[in-house]
């Protein structure tokens, strides 16, 4: 991904829920291990294109999917 951001969740149950919703809507995304510098969670997060962020926030909201926060990874790799 060129301009990646990650959605962090309190629980991987919500990460998988998000993956399935984004998949159905054909929105680019990838499951990834939680970057250690961002969180001490042991599970995974959903990586998205930074430019899709606003659209995805709306989708999460519409589906009632709770998430912790969205962090940009630009410039970190």
């Amino acid at each position: 991904m060129e301009n990646p951001s990650v959605i962090l969740f309190y629980s991987t149950n919500y990460a998988i829920w998000t993956k399935n919703v984004l998949q159905k809507l054909h929105i680019e995304h990838k499951m990834a291990s939680v970057p250690r510098h961002l969180s001490s969670e042991c599970g995974y997060c959903v990586m998205i294109q930074n430019q899709d962020k606003e659209k995805i926030i709306q989708i999460l909201h519409q589906n009632g999917i709770e998430y912790d926060r969205i962090e940009s990874l630009i410039g970190l790799s």
Partner: protein
């Protein structure tokens, strides 16, 4: 003497359904062979795939029971486990609980224990001779302190159906939590959390939903705040690993410990099997078998006794006795001499048998599944005939 090759007739489906559909067995095997990870614990692909198995089943279950948020589906190891979580989880605040005399011990025992410990006050409302709870009696029993009403949708001992929608309406209008035990009705009777005004539904995965043993769960209504329920188990969830506090969000707050992933995958296949058949078709099959069996048994087996009007049997259960026999004699002879599996006695429901006048001896119970046939009913009737004739000759 019974030939080891004699066909097995399995009529103990209310205890657990058998056989399981092929797709259930295949889903479990596939999960065990190919999806070996622990869901939610690790960041690798196999862990995620296991997590997806769980998620897909949550989606199927929430859709099946009319709940929008799949995270409101909590996996437990059976209906008893789920009922204990709901009942004990709500009771920590005290108050007054109401239940009926048609309950299974998985409801009555936790309630009775809480009452014994002085944590709640309990009212058990007697049901009619047809096993029905009167809404008037329920309304009279409700007090300002009433915090929960727990009702068995369908009796495991007699196959009767409670008017849950009306009971739910009464509870909803008064802000009382309504817990439904769907162990015997899920997969047979229509159930919709929203339409039926249910706050919390406990289900068994291994009976009418055709999943494997070791599966079951709770479904919490979209408009019911899960924080009113206190977890019974505390421990690892894979989430908030930096904290020693139990998470308070769904479903993690109630799902400490590794889930039965192959079982949950099998349960999803069971529900897909039911959806394909259609509840109406499953019900019709059972009703046909009940009508067929009762008509023939009454004509052919002297002293054949049932206890409720035939029209009150809603879930394919026949509870009977034969005059001059103990129910244990019948069930033992059926198993040992004819390879027919049934359950005799009180079916973990002493109060239900008291309500119907069959306590303390109980009844023989046949419970049909989608896989039972009229030929099996014929075989059972011939066997019962022989059993009665043999005793007559002695």
């Amino acid at each position: 003497m019974l030939s080891p090759k004699a066909k097995v007739v399995y009529f103990d489906n209310p205890a657990t359904s058998f056989p399981k559909p092929e797709i259930v067995v295949d889903a479990i095997a596939q999960c065990m062979k190919e999806i070996g990870g622990n869901p939610g614990r690790s960041g690798h692909r196999m862990s995620m795939e296991a997590g997806e198995q769980i998620f897909f089943t949550r989606e199927v279950l929430s859709d099946f029971f009319g709940v929008q948020n799949p995270m409101k589906v909590i996996f437990c190891s059976n209906a008893t486990d789920a009922l204990n979580l709901a009942i004990q989880g709500l009771a920590y605040q005290g108050g007054h609980a109401i239940t009926s005399s048609m309950e299974h011990n998985s409801t009555i025992r936790p309630l009775y224990e809480l009452e014994k410990q002085g944590k709640i006050r309990l009212s058990i409302i007697p049901c009619s001779s047809e096993g029905l709870l009167s809404c008037g009696h329920l309304e009279n029993a409700i007090t300002k302190q009433t915090s929960m009403v727990v009702i068995n949708h369908s009796s495991n001992a007699f196959g009767t159906e409670q008017p849950i929608q009306k009971i739910g309406e009464i509870c909803k209008n008064r802000g009382i939590a309504f817990i439904v035990d769907s162990a015997q009705s899920a997969g047979i009777l229509p159930l919709n959390m929203a339409k039926d005004n249910i706050s919390i539904l406990a289900f068994s995965g291994h009976k009418g939903l055709y999943g494997p043993m070791g599966t079951g769960g709770l479904i919490i209504a979209d408009d019911f705040n899960h924080k009113k329920i206190r977890p019974l188990k505390f421990g690892g969830t894979g989430s908030l690993s930096d904290k020693i506090e139990q998470p308070d969000f769904l479903p993690d707050c109630f799902e400490s410990g590794t889930l039965n992933v192959p079982g949950v995958a099998g349960l999803r296949a069971g529900i897909l099997f039911i959806k394909e058949k259609g509840l109406a078709c499953i019900r019709k099959h059972k009703e046909d078998l009940v009508a067929y069996f009762l008509k023939k048994a009454r004509a052919a087996v002297p002293g054949f006794l049932t206890y409720i009007p035939d029209s009150s049997i809603k879930t394919g259960i026949i509870s009977f006795n034969i005059q001059g026999f103990l129910c244990s004699e019948i069930a033992n002879a059926l198993s040992e001499e004819y390879n027919i599996m049934s359950r005799q006695g009180l079916h973990c429901s002493p109060l239900a048998h008291k309500s119907m006048g069959t306590f303390p001896h109980g009844t023989v119970r046949f419970g049909f599944s989608i896989f039972n046939t009229k030929e099996e009913c014929d075989l059972a009737i011939e066997s019962l005939q022989e059993i009665t004739q043999k005793k007559g000759k002695k």
